[in-house]
Subunit: 207 residues, 2 copies
């Protein structure tokens, strides 16, 4: 594959499109115009056309995009055409929310392991998973888990990331509101709730 | 103010820059080049220069940006120059994680009210807040709260959004993995953990 020219911002939007396309497919639709997909998702249609054009998906005028074909293409680009297993580190409130999260299924994701360093939590069963001691992180590679979600306190985020990288993890979703440093081969996406919240007032009318 | 030409993507990045600038200020620095700020944050320096140029902030060659001045400008654009109060709706695991979140302070945010519709939760004290019954949402306007965080189950997300809009809320951070429909005057940012996770495999090396 050689899709490396797709801008990060477009990659960010592909999962949204994928969710919309899967919903439409479920409703029995076979094709969709960029305009209708845009309305359905509340985004710009030119943006959709541009994002799809990066990987050579062009709708047929008057017909639109073949949804099933497009779903396959998007999944292939995002490497979601195989089930991806992720490990969760940190089973506090946020970790519990992640484990109960209903949205992973449509992307063929599965949280396949959960870790904590609190002896009171280790061994407990939650959502079909038994919480493991954080020292067991090194087993991840052997278990084919190369994605991880960090939901530990800020102070422990960097050392957790270090342990994950050592265990062969190559993609990290970080919920700690801090910058973590990893080797270039590892991709980190940080979700900082405060940062997202900080964007809102900009859009609010004065007064 | 007439900053309405700033692209959404740039607005999204401003809180990150702000966090970096505040850290540098705390370390005692008075000015910073776009290159050094970029290295500090792990982003592109041309992107920083471009984003700042939208509101007329240009560094002085050889000196860089005056940090204090830039912080004020960014805060003003994001309307973070006044303390913003937010309401939390839904005090489950995710809601509890939001209440305990350490990252709001630097943006002068305060979660000033928490609501749930579970009678067992209403009246409980958490992080200096008393959980209120969801029927009390209509008091938000009077209390000067125009931001809200939705952390309710997916099925209840839309009706919660409707109630918030009716209560005068104009900015919503939505954690439910679903599209919610609001009037144009209301800005919604949806954080879909699964979508962010879905971007990661794209960046991972094959095998």
């Amino acid at each position: 594959m050689r899709y490396h020219r797709i801008p990060d911002e477009s990659i960010r939007r592909l999962p949204l499109y994928l969710r919309g396309l899967l919903s439409l497919l479920e409703e029995g639709q076979q094709s969709v115009s960029s305009r209708n997909l845009a309305d359905f998702l509340g985004v710009n249609s030119w943006q959709i056309r541009k994002d799809f054009s990066y990987f050579g998906a062009f709708g047929t005028p008057g017909v639109g995009y073949n949804i099933e074909k497009l779903v396959k293409q998007v999944k292939k680009i995002l490497k979601l055409d195989v089930v991806q297993k992720a490990a969760l580190v940190g089973v506090g409130n946020l970790g519990l929310a992640v484990l109960a999260y209903p949205g992973f299924g449509i992307y063929d994701f599965r949280v396949a392991a959960a870790f904590d360093n609190d002896p009171k939590k280790v061994g407990r069963k939650i959502e079909n998973l038994t919480i493991e001691d954080a020292s067991k992180l090194r087993t991840l590679k052997r278990r084919g888990i190369s994605l991880a979600i960090i939901a530990v306190p800020r102070e422990a985020a960097q050392q957790t990331a270090d342990a994950l990288v050592k265990a062969g993890v190559r993609g990290i979703l970080n919920f700690s509101p801090c910058h973590i440093t990893v080797p270039k081969k590892v991709k980190v996406i940080t979700i900082d709730i405060a940062m997202d919240l900080a964007c809102l007032p900009y859009y609010m009318p004065a007064g």
